[in-house]
Amino acid sequence: MPRLAIEPWGNYSLALAASVECLKVIPWTHTCTTPEILRLGVAASPEFSCLSFKVTTGHFIKAAMEGVEYGVMVNSRGPCRLRYYRMLQQKLLAERGFNLFIFGLGYDGIKPPLIRHFDPKMKDFLDCCFRARLKVVTIDELEKAAWTRRAVEQRPGDTTRVMNRCLQALDQARTVPEIRAFRKTIPARFHAVAANPDRRPLKVALLGEATILRNSFLNHNIEELLGGLGAEVRNFFLLGDEMRNIFNVGLWSKNGRAAMRKLAKPYLGTSVGGHALTSVAHTIRCAQEGYDGVIHVAPAGCMPEVSIRPILRKISQDLDIPVFECSFDEHTSQVGMVTRLEAFVDVLAERRRKPGSQVI
């Protein structure tokens, strides 16, 4: 059976791997990047390209080195560099003498080339898509449960252990009834983690560029670091929500495109590209919903995310919400991250203690 390399999407890689079963291929993917993959990507990529490009390129090179025949990469039509990722990666692979062919996904007809090539049976395909969607939604639920519990856990690391066990169980669940049965056990599993009832965790939003938000190697485990510091994290990239937006199902929902555009309108009149508009809209919403702080995450030099930073600063001033802008590249160090996050969380805690503070 041929193998198919899928770009890394954090924990969602499990669901994506399940989605290609019907194509009769063996999925090749990781939930997290390794230092070796990053090194390969950095060596091959143009100097000023963004970290997301370098890392996905590294993944495909590593896959090609292991003899994987096919890869799949999302297409984009926006003004961000993502539009050219696939073309450039294919070129870089060819220059190095690798034979990996990368399929694009999205914006290329009802039957994308990937599906046309492997031509699965319609029933199998729909079945697989349904199962994958269910897994994505389940992972959304797992993530949300972990963010809440980690902030109040008594012994550091307990929640992460439960999370990892859950992900393993989900990976092994093959049929729809199995996944549904597992989903029902999620609340109980996280409730079993010993919690400190007196703690009132800070609420911190994580938003910005999706690859960095989802890849715990690139963001140096920012969710766990913040959880360990007693902050309840809300990562605004959840693939379940995002999928609804891609297929325009959630047109009228709170996180739908129309709602985001309306919310951001006073500060930003265009979509810019990437997730820039949603970053602005979510920052405004976080201020309205009483979050303690916002962390804006982006790869260094990210075209859409960096261009809206002056706007985020203005929102921070106008709506009185601390925004911590954090850029990542291949030289960002774990220790530096820890120090900066500690300082930020200290500032947020101090704001709560301040007399007359509106934040409760």
Binding site: F48, L88, V272, K314
Partner: protein, 314 residues
């Protein structure tokens, strides 16, 4: 009811209002267009002073540290204008060529400008999307925004568009005859900013090189493989370049330019196929003149060496 309608359409002529234009980005993307149009409408146009050492220093101090150099310079020019103009014009450029899209940073520019100027300063903007709307129509919208009379707008737009065409043709005029013949490529706001590109052209002139800027006058190019407007045009120009006519290409890029990080590799590929030497010079706010000079001299020397070598062999 009619009274209200009448009141809302009553025109206040824009004449004698002062409007500022930052000498950065869109000023170079559409040379002469904005000043001519606004001046023809009877406004007093103030353009920020040309980029200088002080502008660059100011840019480093006030602008977002991860912006590319041109956007940093824009912020410095904007800050200078905000001190003495109550009204500043910053267009939202979504597409500068038919069939193409612009760099995403230009789309967010008016909103960023609003976030950065004091509340008393008003930013006036109009969407420029040449992929969908002809430029003349966008100018008409701008005129309406400024409450100008339709006839005045038509007349001003006509003048402005011909001034734009003349400026674009003039920019690419070949310099005086010399030995080696170089094409200088890059974004118009890098190539035409005298502070950034001037020293490069001066040095090439002294080295006896005939340096020519890439022409933006003819903009009918296919949006393949690059969709970004300026990059696509440069790519297509390079593809049509004849190795017999040119001796080398210099790519003037700016630090942290997202478009050039992708397009630069494609430019080099095309030129490698044509066996035309190419050098990329990355400009930033710390660039030392001596470093640029040395690299230019080395590049010119190596090409001369190559030519002599080829001649002795024949």
């Amino acid at each position: 009811m009619f009274g209200r309608f009448k009141k809302s359409t009553a025109r206040r002529s824009p004449a004698h209002h002062t409007i500022g234009i930052p000498r950065a980005l869109d000023f170079y993307l559409y040379p002469a267009l904005w000043e001519t149009f606004l001046r023809e409408l009877g406004m007093d146009v103030v353009v920020s002073s040309p980029t200088s050492r002080r502008t660059v220093e100011q840019a480093g101090l006030i602008s977002e540290s991860e912006h590319c150099l041109p956007v940093k310079l824009f912020d410095a020019h904007l800050a200078e204008l905000a001190e003495h103009a109550g009204l500043i014009f910053v267009p939202r450029i979504l597409s500068a060529f038919p069939g193409h899209i612009a760099c995403p940073k230009l789309g967010a520019l008016p909103d960023c400008a609003r976030a950065q100027v004091p509340p008393a300063v008003q930013i006036i903007s109009v969407d420029i999307d040449e992929a969908r709307v002809p430029l003349a129509q966008s100018l008409a919208e701008l005129g309406q925004l400024l409450n100008a009379a339709p006839a005045a707008i038509r007349q001003a737009a006509g003048c402005a568009l011909s001034a734009l065409q003349a400026a674009r043709t003039e920019e690419a005029a070949p310099s005086k005859a010399g030995g080696l013949h170089f094409l200088i490529i890059g974004h118009p706001y890098n190539l035409n900013d005298a502070y950034l590109a001037g020293p490069v052209f001066d040095r090439l002139d002294r080295l006896g090189v005939r340096a020519e800027r890439v022409s933006f006058a003819d903009r009918e190019v296919p949006p393949e493989p690059l969709k970004w407007d300026v990059c696509s045009l440069i790519y297509n120009r390079l593809r049509d370049l004849s190795s017999a006519e040119w001796d080398g290409v210099i790519h003037l890029s700016s630090f942290n330019c997202g478009c050039d990080s992708i397009a630069g590799t494609l430019y080099h590929d095309v030129l490698r196929e044509k066996r035309l030497p190419c050098m990329t010079l990355v400009l930033d706010e710390h660039a030392g003149q001596a470093g640029v000079d040395t690299r230019l001299e080395a590049f010119v020397d190596s090409i001369r060496e190559q030519h002599e070598h080829a001649q002795t062999r024949h």
